[in-house]
Amino acid sequence: MNRSTWGRLAGSTCHLLQSHHLSGIFSYFKEIVAIHEMIFNEAGEAIDYRVIDGNSAFLNLLGKRAEDIRNRLATDLYSAIPAPYIREYESVVHHGLPKELTTFYPPLDRYFSITAIPLGDNLFATITNDITANRQMHELMSARSKELENYLYITSHDLRTPLVNIQGFSQRLNKQSAKVLELLKEHLNSTGNEELKKLISEGIPKTLHFILAGVNKMDSLLNALLQLSRTGRATMSVKPVNMNLLLEKIVETNSFQLSEIGASVKIDQLPVCYGDENLLNQMFSNLIGNAIKYRNPARSLVIEISAISGLRKAIYSVKDNGTGIEKKHLDHIWNLFYRIDGTTSEPGDGIGLSVVKKIAEKHRGRVKVESEPGTGSVFSVVLQTTEFQEP
C-alpha cells in the first residue's frame, strides 16, 4: 500500500473512530488496541504522545480504568523518558506508513509484537499482541533442539571409537587366519584334516566378512548422523542470495550426470531470498539429486524449478517427472533413515530430505511435497525474502 492509500484509509478510520466509540468496537478484541496523539515541540521533534483511548485488553494490561488512561501522556502513564518506542511511532506519523516491531518491554517483563498505524492529524493507533508465551515456548524448543543436536554429535562421535577397534581388529584377525592357514599348510596336506582347513580358509573369513559389513553399515549411519548434527549446528551467514545463480551453479555441478541420462532442467526467474548460501546450495543439491535418483527410466527426466513470491516469503519448487511417491510414504519421507524400498537401486544414506528439512527450519522456512505415483513429485521450500534471525 502506498502513502496516499494509507492516507485515505487513515482518514476513513478516523471517521469511524469518531462515529463509534473505540472501546465499543474493540472491546472484544484479544489484541491490545490504543489510539494516541503525537506531541511535537517547537522544532517539530516528537517529544511525547498522549493516550486518546484504549480497549479493555489495553486497560487489563496496565491494570487501569478507562478514565485513568485517557489524555495521559505516555511519559507519565509509563513513567518512562523518553516515551516507549517514540522514535518508531514518530516515523509512522511522519511517513504516514504503518510499521511493525517486535520488542521486549522490561517494565512488564513481556514480549510484544506491535503494529503502529498512522491515522492522520498526528494520530496513530497501536495494535499489540502479547507474544511472551510464544516466545518462551520458542526459546524452550530452540534450547531443547540445540541440546539434542549436541547429544547427537557426541554419541555419533563416541560410537565411532569402538567401531574403529572392531574394524581394525577384525581385519587383523583376517590376516592372522590367513597366516595360520599358511603355517599349517604342510600339516593339513599331510594329515588331510579337511574340517580344520575349511574352518580356516572359509569359515573364519566368512564370519569376518559379516562383521565387517555390519561395521561399515554402522559407520555410514553414524556418518549420516554426524552430517545432520553438523548441519544443525552450522553457524549461518545470512545474506541475500541470487537463487538463479545458485541453481545454475548446482545444475553445472551435476551437468555430467544430467547430460548422460538425457535430462533437461528449466529454471524460471527466481526471487532473491535471504539465507546461508552454502546451506541453500546443499538443500537444492539434495532436491535435484533426489530428482535424478528417483527418475522414471521409461522417460527423459525433466526438472522444473520455479518460485512464487509472497509477503516477505517465497515458495521455491523443484518439480520432476520421476517415479513419484505413494501417499502412504509422504508423511515419512522427511524422517531420518526412512527409505522407500523398491523404487530405486541407487544407494543412499536416507538423510537427504532430513537435511533439507533441517536447513529450511534454520531459515525459518517450511518444506512441502506433493506427489503422484507414476507422474512425478513437487518439492517446495518456503524461504524468507527479507532479513531474519535464526530461530
Binding site: 565411532r160 567401531l163 574403529v164 577397534n165 581394525g168 581388529f169 587383523r172
Partner: protein, 141 residues
C-alpha cells in the same frame, strides 16, 4: 637433520585398541623406529616439557597425537608445543575419529603438520599410515 640418531615416534592415544592398531600398522608399513606410547595428553606433555632444554633429543621426535583424550586433550598439547620455543620444531600429526572441518582447520591454524582421520575402513587407515611412513622418511632426511 640429525642422521646420527634415530627418530623416535611418540604416540599419544588413550584408547589401547587404537594405539595397538596404530603401532601395528606403522611396523607393517616398514617403520622400525623406536616407538613410545602415552595414554593421555598430560603424560606426553610432561615427557616433552622435561626435555625442552635438550634440543638434540627434541629434534628426534615425531608426535602422533589423538585429539580426544582425558586430562589434557590433543588440541591443548598441540597449542602448548607450537607456542614453545624449542618444542615447536617437533612434527605433529593429529589423529582423530572425525573429519570435523572446523576441528581440522583449528589444528592447522595451531600449526599441526598433518591431520589423519581414523577411518573405520582399515585399508584407508593403513594407506594413510604408509604415506605417513614416507613422510617420516622425508623428515629424517
Amino acid at each position: 637433520m640429525c642422521d646420527s640418531k634415530e627418530m623416535t615416534i611418540l604416540v599419544a592415544e588413550d584408547d589401547p585398541g587404537h594405539a595397538e592398531l596404530i603401532v601395528d600398522e606403522l611396523k607393517e608399513s616398514g617403520i622400525h623406529n623406536p616407538i613410545r606410547q602415552f595414554c593421555n595428553g598430560q603424560e606426553v606433555w610432561d615427557f616433552l616439557n622435561e626435555k625442552d632444554s635438550d634440543e638434540t633429543a627434541v629434534l628426534n621426535y615425531l608426535l602422533l597425537l589423538d585429539i580426544k583424550m582425558p586430562k589434557m586433550d590433543g588440541i591443548e598439547v598441540l597449542k602448548r608445543i607450537k607456542s614453545h620455543n624449542t618444542l615447536k620444531k617437533i612434527p605433529v600429526i593429529m589423529v582423530s575419529t572425525t573429519d570435523d572441518q572446523p576441528e581440522i582447520a583449528k589444528c592447522y591454524e595451531l600449526g599441526c603438520n598433518m591431520y589423519i582421520t581414523k577411518p573405520v575402513d582399515y585399508r584407508i587407515f593403513a594407506e594413510s599410515l604408509k604415506r605417513l611412513g614416507l613422510f617420516i622418511q622425508i623428515v629424517r632426511v
